[in-house]
Amino acid sequence: MNDSNDENSLPANNTLADDALVNLEAEFEDSNVKEVLDKLDNELIGLVPVKTRIREIAALLLVDRLRKQFALSSETPTLHMNFTGNPGTGKTTVALRMSEILHRLGYVREGHLVSVTRDDLVGQYIGHTAPKTKEVIKKAMGGVLFIDEAYYLYKPENERDYGAESIEILLQVMENNRDDLVVILAGYKDRMDTFFHSNPGMRSRIAHHVDFPDYSADELLQIAKLMLADQNYCFSPDAEKAFSEYITIRMTLEHFANARSVRNALDRARLRQANRLFANASKSLSKTDLMTLEAEDILASRVFLEGKLDMDSDAIEE
């Protein structure tokens, strides 16, 4: 890469000469980040602002690596992130990808993801919280610590709540062990805003606030097809039409959880398909029969009949 002026480079500390040239593209290829970014593009529908942000972060890290070759040192960039968005918008999935990207760029050493919630961090009695939080942090070292529903950590209505202690330790680690781990918080937008409002220290230590938009009906249909393909199912043409109608109605109902609602609807459709096949058990079935969801499997949903949620549906989940 620095063949333009070899004798001037300093091999002792691997610093390149001032007029040496480096190739960003080669570095990009070299890091295999492209593969992860492409995977992100192919497997995650929509989410344009999120993808742009991840690309930006990847670009920054890559350029930073090149700068290092010229000994243009800058501090390790703060990579702690905050993912906000409605239920089922893919926060966890993206966090998983993020740990892979950071690993490929060499910003986390191991690239594993430790996913925790309040229960894993906050103890039940005095003196229980600190060791518990530290235990989790130790496990996450060299990887990404993903705190789901992070706003539960802080309960303003109970001033003796141990959550505050946990936050304090987290803040300390986020500042002092920046090279060792990356913390990603996730939660619903409005509640996370309240959380940051009462913990300004947390807000300032997080460099990247990424908002996950809701999916459009088209995107949800694409997601549904992708999910089915993963499980070796497919829609018949009629079923596809029915399902896109289903999504339109479902989106107006309460407790709509984007991709998660889609997954639940598909699970119920599979149930009805199995039931339908069983009802005509005397008929011998082909591979296509076993794979195809028909319109009737979807139209039987109560969403169509009464404009209400299925009883066994995601009414309970938020």
């Binding site: 050493r109 191991e110 060791p131 496990k139 070292m141 060299g142 062990n177 781990l181």
Partner: protein
């Protein structure tokens, strides 16, 4: 005679080498983790070679991926017990029990008085020998200042 020329206790791995730096400890921990072993930190102020069971500094650490967390705990132990022997022990679960596969001292007292040889006369002019750490003349917790 019982003390070696370097005047330090030589137990476990690397004990004839100069003290390990944090970087070297990190590499050793990394090696153990890569083998799938779990690590524990133990401390003691009784350096007798037959004193195998040292006090545990916290629980052994399972499911760890990266040495940074364990090194953090080593430094915690050093802060808590600056004048004790502290060792890092790696346990392998291959045999169905957690058995010690690596063990090395990462912290030792500033001054180590060493061991004396005690002779005992028994029947028929027989001599029995035993070694005795000068440090253990003092009660536990006051042995190294």
């Amino acid at each position: 005679m019982m003390t070696n020329p370097s005047k330090i206790v030589t137990q476990g791995q690397f004990s004839f080498l100069p003290p390990l730096t944090d970087e070297e400890i990190t590499k050793q921990i990394k090696y153990a983790l890569d083998q799938g072993w779990s690590l524990g930190i133990e401390y003691s102020d009784d350096p007798h070679p037959r004193n195998t069971y040292w006090e545990m500094f916290g629980n052994p650490m399972f499911d760890m991926k990266d040495p940074a967390g364990i090194l953090m705990e080593v430094n915690n132990a050093r802060k808590t017990f600056p004048n004790y022997y502290i060792r890092v022990t790696a346990f392998s679960a291959v045999r169905g029990v957690e058995s010690v596969t690596m063990s090395y001292i990462v912290n030792r007292p500033k001054a180590e008085p060493g061991f004396g040889l005690t002779r005992q006369e028994t029947g028929g002019r027989t001599q029995r020998y035993t070694i005795h750490s000068y440090a253990t003349d003092k009660p536990e917790g006051e042995r190294y200042k």
